[in-house]
């Protein structure tokens, strides 16, 4: 088999992909500068889009750690020869976390004036619903009893503590899982694999309980009066589907460049099945959240969907279901579809765009006056795509080999057949 010749293969990050990703970063910087220079509503749009994309960035990298962890915990064999891709995601997670925290810091501490209920107020660009001055101070003219009730969770101290602890923990586990796998290459034996198994199990417990809190904090608290316990799982599903789609895209890209020739159509089929399955799961939790709120019809709960049912969002609100449920359902249902590279590639691209729209529907109604789709949206999206591609492919090129040479299940993966 040819694989045995290329087991020392190393990825070289050069050529068009490198140029294009750098161009993407430049476009992103120009779009951010454009938003700030134009001022007014554009600043708000820039902040919202920055939050959207940096959250997306963190989620995709976390999905890499999550993927590694459940593959190890399940002692899965098929994924051993492609595990370097999610490991590269995990290596980029610290950078993504720093960017998210920076965006949140700028958005939270730079204030602007808005007119609400006929009076002028200074509110931060992000998290204005709970971070505006005086919301929780008894006797203040801004006092809001509902927000005051949630004050222990929605304070700047707790918020930062949560961000740093959770993102730090996820980054640590990502780093540790990658390190054991790299050590395994030189040491051999089962020591590192056993260690990965333990780390993965601990990570999954920590992650399962804390990811909803992370999603509540970063996204749900943009509209702090509203709450939904499904929101964490909904975000988990979105993050997982988009992470898998991007993994598949990187795998297809590498194969087109002539790397990872040991991966064949059965590996793509397995990833395709995960994407298909978790798209259905995403729809399940999306609907669970929507259905309960719609059925109960309690004003403080339905206000969230009411906003998304205004004419400017309604089409996109339903189009979200078309892109993230109907499209993968129909495009990836049959066995053969998951085995066609171009079909998988286009479906994954559609899902990446679909989950951008998903996050857009989560973030925009709570932060901007009027939704837009212009320079900020496109430019900042391209910027983060460039940044992600650049950092992940750089991380991938740092691995001494694109295959975990001494992974105990490597042979099973190389002969994966379904």
């Amino acid at each position: 088999m040819k694989t045995h010749n290329s087991i020392e293969e190393r990825f070289q990050f050069t050529g068009t992909s490198k140029t294009l990703s750098l161009v993407g970063i430049v476009i992103g910087i120009i779009a951010i500068a454009f938003g700030f220079i134009l001022g007014g509503e554009h600043v708000q749009h820039t902040y919202s889009n920055l939050l959207l994309m940096s959250y997306y960035f963190v989620c995709v990298c976390t999905a890499g750690v999550f993927f590694c962890a459940y593959q190890y915990a399940a002692q899965a064999g098929w994924s051993a020869s492609l595990i370097r891709i999610p490991q590269a995601f995990a290596k980029v997670l610290p950078l993504a976390s720093i960017i998210l925290i920076a965006v949140i810091t700028f958005g939270l501490f730079s204030e602007h004036e808005v007119i609400e209920h006929g009076k002028k107020e200074m509110v931060p660009y992000l998290y204005a619903h709970w971070a505006t001055h005086g919301l929780t101070t008894l006797g203040s003219e801004n006092y809001d009893a509902i927000i005051a009730g949630k004050a222990p969770f929605l304070t700047i101290k707790f918020f930062y503590g949560m961000l740093i602890v959770l993102l730090g923990a996820y980054s640590y586990f990502g780093w540790a899982l990658t390190k054991t796998s790299v050590d395994e290459d030189t040491e051999g034996g089962m020591r590192n694999y056993d260690k990965s198994f333990k780390l993965a199990c601990i990570f999954l417990v920590v992650f399962g309980f804390t990811f909803p809190i992370f999603a509540f904090g970063v996204i749900m608290s943009l509209e702090a009066h509203w709450f939904s316990t499904m929101f964490g799982w909904y975000n988990l599903a979105a993050m997982h589907v988009s992470g898998l789609a991007i993994m598949a895209l990187i795998m297809i890209h590498l194969q087109k460049k002539g790397y990872m020739e040991w991966l064949h159509v059965d590996h793509m089929h397995s990833i395709g099945k995960l994407i298909f399955g978790f798209s259905i799961f995403w729809t399940y939790v999306w609907f669970a959240q929507f259905f309960l709120t719609w059925y109960a019809n309690i004003p403080e709960e339905s206000v969230y969907f009411y906003k998304r049912w205004e004419p400017e969002y309604k089409f996109w609100f339903w189009f979200n279901i078309v892109m993230n449920f109907l499209a993968p359902l129909l495009l990836l249902m049959s066995r053969d579809a998951k085995r066609v590279r171009s079909r998988m590639m286009w479906t994954c691209l559609l899902l990446v765009a679909g989950h951008w729209l998903d996050y857009y529907i989560m973030i925009m109604p709570g932060t901007v006056e009027k939704p837009g789709f212009g320079v900020e949206e496109i430019g900042i999206f391209l910027g983060f795509v460039g940044l992600f591609t650049f950092s992940v492919l750089t991380a991938l090129s740092r691995f001494t080999s694109l295959i975990p040479k001494k992974h105990p299940f490597l042979q099973e993966s190389l002969h994966h057949h379904i």
Binding site: F287, F291, W294, Y295, M333, R335, H415, H417
Partner: protein, 178 residues
């Protein structure tokens, strides 16, 4: 003419059995079927078996299930006996989603199971058709239709060369559980 109906080559190792398949195919002897106690990867390709069409059956049954329940609750809750539940319209589509979802899965699961039973003669109450009982235990078996495939001695030799532990010339096609 001999009374032999089926020639069975019994192997105790799947690799030997694969060799047996190669030997027979090289000599253009058609194989009736293969019986193994466990799935053997790659055997479908080797035997040139077409992909299962069970997936299409599943899709059709899923569509059927969705249609049946949707029309049923539409008739019950919208046409025949509309009720005011929490001020919602009678034709409230979100309410229909959980039913439709469940019935799609129910019909798909049962439809697939029964189609599989029917296609493989495994229907409950029916004696299973087995050529050799050890195919469910520790023997990997190649079955060759004896009629038209002569001389039988050559087939026996080909199977023995590949490492068959036993070659049977059966006069009955199936043995059933008595």
């Amino acid at each position: 003419m001999s009374k032999t109906k089926m020639i069975l080559g019994l192997f105790d190792d799947p690799d030997d059995m694969m060799q047996g398949i190669d030997n027979l195919q090289k000599n253009s002897i058609p194989i009736y079927d293969i019986y193994t106690p466990m799935p053997i990867h790659g055997i479908e390709d080797k035997m040139g078996i077409k992909d299962s069409r069970l997936g299409y059956v599943a899709f059709c049954f899923g569509c059927l299930g969705a249609t049946v329940i949707f029309s049923m609750i539409y008739y019950m809750l919208v046409q025949d006996w509309p009720m005011n539940i929490g001020g919602k319209p009678s034709f409230a589509i979100p309410n229909f989603v959980p039913f439709t979802f469940e019935w799609t899965i129910l019909f798909t699961a049962f439809g697939m199971t029964f189609t599989f039973f029917a296609a493989t003669n495994l229907f409950p109450g029916r004696a299973p058709r087995v050529m050799d009982l050890r195919a469910t235990d520790d023997r990997f078996i190649i079955a060759i239709d004896a009629k038209g495939n002569v001389p039988h001695e050559d087939i026996t030799n080909l199977l023995k060369q590949a490492g068959a532990v036993e070659v049977k010339h059966n006069e009955r096609k199936y043995v059933s559980y008595e």
